[in-house]
């Protein structure tokens, strides 16, 4: 019984394949029959019978179809590939891919390549764009014709660190075309670097609160063992120190998460008006607590920029938080959004201005560095981690945006974010 079943299945399968192989003739004859039906007006029964007969013939009559299908496949492939444009193929590849000719001039670059490298266009010289010595060597070795393909590791340090494994190879015979494919290896590289960075930056910053906690524990177990007043005070300090460590770890994690994603997904738009509004709402409690009034001054019309909403939210949140904390004495903070830039570089400026003590000139260029503090004491009391502005800077770099800081001691500070609109 079981054998029989298997046999049956085999036959059914064979018929199915045969039907599939002859789908084109079938379809053609169906069309023909339909045409006859429409023109001559034979009855529907006849039509049905004819169609059935065709199906049966296709399914049961032995034919050379199975034998032919192999050859057909090859022929099909040849025809299909002939029609396949290199451009479509390049567009379908997810990695950056650049096609270039014998003089190392770019012939075509796919979307991924534009997104990754920007500022490349057909007709541009590859060796002028990729100047790193290992890329020069790679191009030379492939163009000289000594080898058909070659591989090199290429790293870019600025503006965001990226590492690629690049393979270059010649395309086909006598086309005089070559192709360059970039495989992104940044992640592995970045994890390594992150570890090193974490040890270098965080260990030092974490050790300070840790040392103070350890010191207080020692005192609590020793001299202050029976002093309830001191115990309470020490526990208070210890609590604020652990809070600081927790914030520090949060900030470090968010910074390293940013470093994991080297560049933005293109195509998403952010409504700045809505984003800034929700930042102001979310910081309402903090503003009330520090008795600061937040004023808005937004330009009319749509204020969209390409970017990532969550990241831009964090930028404005950090800036506004700083303004409320450090500009407390000014009692007000002005958030304004305005269009800016000439026609060549249209953009939108978001400015957050406080009227606090301001920042001394010599510190301004450096406050976006990690753990750089203008005044260590104030930063500690305001629960700063020294990472807020470097997170801001990092996000803005990814958005091709600029941060400019203007400040006069005694008159407050203005942080302007210039975001390009395309």
């Amino acid at each position: 019984m079981a054998d029989r079943g298997a046999d049956d299945r085999g036959v059914v399968q064979a018929i199915a394949t045969r039907l599939w192989n002859s789908r084109w003739p079938l379809a053609a004859s169906l069309v023909a029959v339909l045409a006859v039906y429409a023109l001559a007006g034979i009855s529907a029964y006849v039509l049905l019978l004819l169609a059935l007969a065709m199906l049966l013939a296709a399914a049961l009559l032995p034919s050379g179809a199975t034998r032919q299908s192999g050859e057909n496949g090859a022929a099909l492939e040849a025809i299909g590939l002939q029609r396949l444009s290199g451009e479509y193929l390049a567009a379908a590849v997810a990695d950056p891919l650049i096609i270039f000719d014998r003089t190392a001039t770019i012939v075509h670059a796919n979307v991924a390549a534009f997104a990754a490298f920007g500022g490349i266009a057909p007709g541009m010289s590859l060796s002028l764009k990729f100047r790193a010595p290992e890329m020069q060597a790679l191009l030379d070795s492939v163009l000289s014709g000594d080898v058909a393909s070659d591989v090199a590791d290429y790293t870019e340090k600025l503006p965001v660190e990226r590492a690629y494994r690049v393979s270059a190879s010649s395309v086909g015979h006598g086309t005089d075309l070559y192709v360059l494919v970039f495989k992104d290896q940044s992640e592995a590289r970045r994890i390594d670097r992150m570890r090193a960075d974490f040890i270098a930056n965080a260990s030092h910053e974490l050790r300070t609160p840790l040392a103070s906690i350890a010191g207080f524990i020692e005192t609590l177990r020793g001299p202050a063992r029976n002093d309830p007043a001191a115990r309470d005070q020490f526990l208070q300090i210890m609590q604020s120190q652990t809070g600081r460590m927790a914030r520090l770890i949060d900030d470090l994690l968010s910074l390293s998460r940013l470093e994991m994603k080297p560049y933005l997904k293109p195509g998403t738009k952010v409504d700045l008006r809505q984003t800034v509004d929700s930042v102001i709402d979310s910081l309402g409690p903090l503003a009330r607590e520090s008795s600061v009034v937040i004023e808005r001054d937004f330009a009319e019309g749509p204020l969209d920029v390409p970017g990532d909403r969550d990241e831009l939210f964090q930028v404005f949140e950090n800036l506004l938080e700083n303004a409320c904390k450090y500009g407390q004495s000014g009692a007000r903070v002005v958030v304004s959004i305005a269009r800016s830039g000439a026609d060549s570089e249209p953009g939108i400026d978001v400015t957050i201005r406080d009227f606090g003590p301001g920042i001394p000139e010599e510190h301004i260029p450096r406050i976006t560095e990690r753990f750089y503090r203008v005044d260590v004491e104030t930063s500690r009391t305001q629960k700063g981690t020294g990472l807020g502005l470097s997170i801001v800077k990092h996000i803005l770099t990814r958005h091709n945006a600029r941060l400019s800081i203007k400040s006069e001691v005694g008159k407050g500070a203005a942080f302007s974010v210039h975001l390009p609109t395309h």
């Binding site: 266009a121 764009k129 990729f130 100047r131 340090k157 600025l158 260029p365």
Partner: protein
């Protein structure tokens, strides 16, 4: 980019020139990058490599000079071509200087890493170097794309570099006043900072040359200020022992 000449060898020679410039640029960028990495990570091995690599740039400059002279003699270039060739000579000289400055930073690595310096100093230096390197990278990208209308960024960043340098100068001075034992390493770091600042200036020079090559005009001259270190004097007395 360039219009096609009747003699295709002429085109090839011009292309070769710009290709060599790009290669030199790549080398210079890499050298500066590695010199800073050697300084920050206290890596004398990498510093030695940077010092050796400088020979490549010297060789590159000599070659470009020779080639340029030969082209001028052979082809009697005019207009854009002439500017292109003269520009190549100038840019290669700037790049060679950038290499020298990078090499000088690398040479100081050994002296600086003897005593461990506060990490914040290195962080400042690294930030300054990143600014200068971004400047160099973008300028060389403009050389590749010839889109000089974007060259305005150069001046902005030049100002940033100067401000950063001034701030570092002040910080280093403070460290020296705190403890005389800091004077040796801090002086070296000061020179490193100065070198990096000079690299930014060379990048700006290159930008001006590119502007001249493409447009035939000099870049509008408005370079009002440099760094403000000449005005810094820290008052204060040395700690009395």
């Amino acid at each position: 980019m360039q219009s096609v000449h009747i003699v295709s060898a002429y085109d090839e020679e011009l292309n070769y020139l710009s290709k060599r410039i790009a290669a030199m640029g790549g080398h210079a960028e890499r050298m500066v990058e590695q010199a800073i990495a050697a300084l920050v990570n206290a890596d004398p091995g990498l510093a030695q490599k940077v010092i050796r690599d400088d020979a490549v740039l010297d060789e590159g400059q000599r070659e470009i000079d020779d080639k340029a002279i030969i082209i001028i003699a052979k082809r009697q270039p005019m207009a854009t071509d002439l500017r292109e060739i003269i520009g190549a000579i100038r840019i290669s000289a700037d790049l060679e200087r950038v290499g020298d400055l990078g090499k000088n930073v690398a040479k100081r690595v050994v002296a600086v890493i003897d005593g461990r310096q506060p990490t914040s100093l290195f962080r400042g230096l690294e930030a300054l170097a990143n600014l200068a390197l971004t400047q160099l990278k973008e300028v060389l990208d403009v050389y590749a794309s010839r889109s000089v209308e974007k060259i305005g960024f150069v001046r902005d960043r030049d100002d940033q570099i100067d401000a950063m340098y001034t701030s570092l100068f002040r910080e280093l001075l403070t460290y020296m006043m705190e403890d005389p034992r800091n004077i040796t390493p801090c002086t070296h770091l000061l020179f490193c900072a100065k070198n990096i600042e000079r690299i930014g200036d060379h990048a700006t020079n290159i930008a001006e040359t590119i502007y001249y090559i493409v447009t035939g005009d000099q870049m509008p001259a408005e370079r009002p200020k440099g760094d403000k270190t000449d005005k810094i004097s820290l008052s204060g007395t040395l700690p009395v022992k």
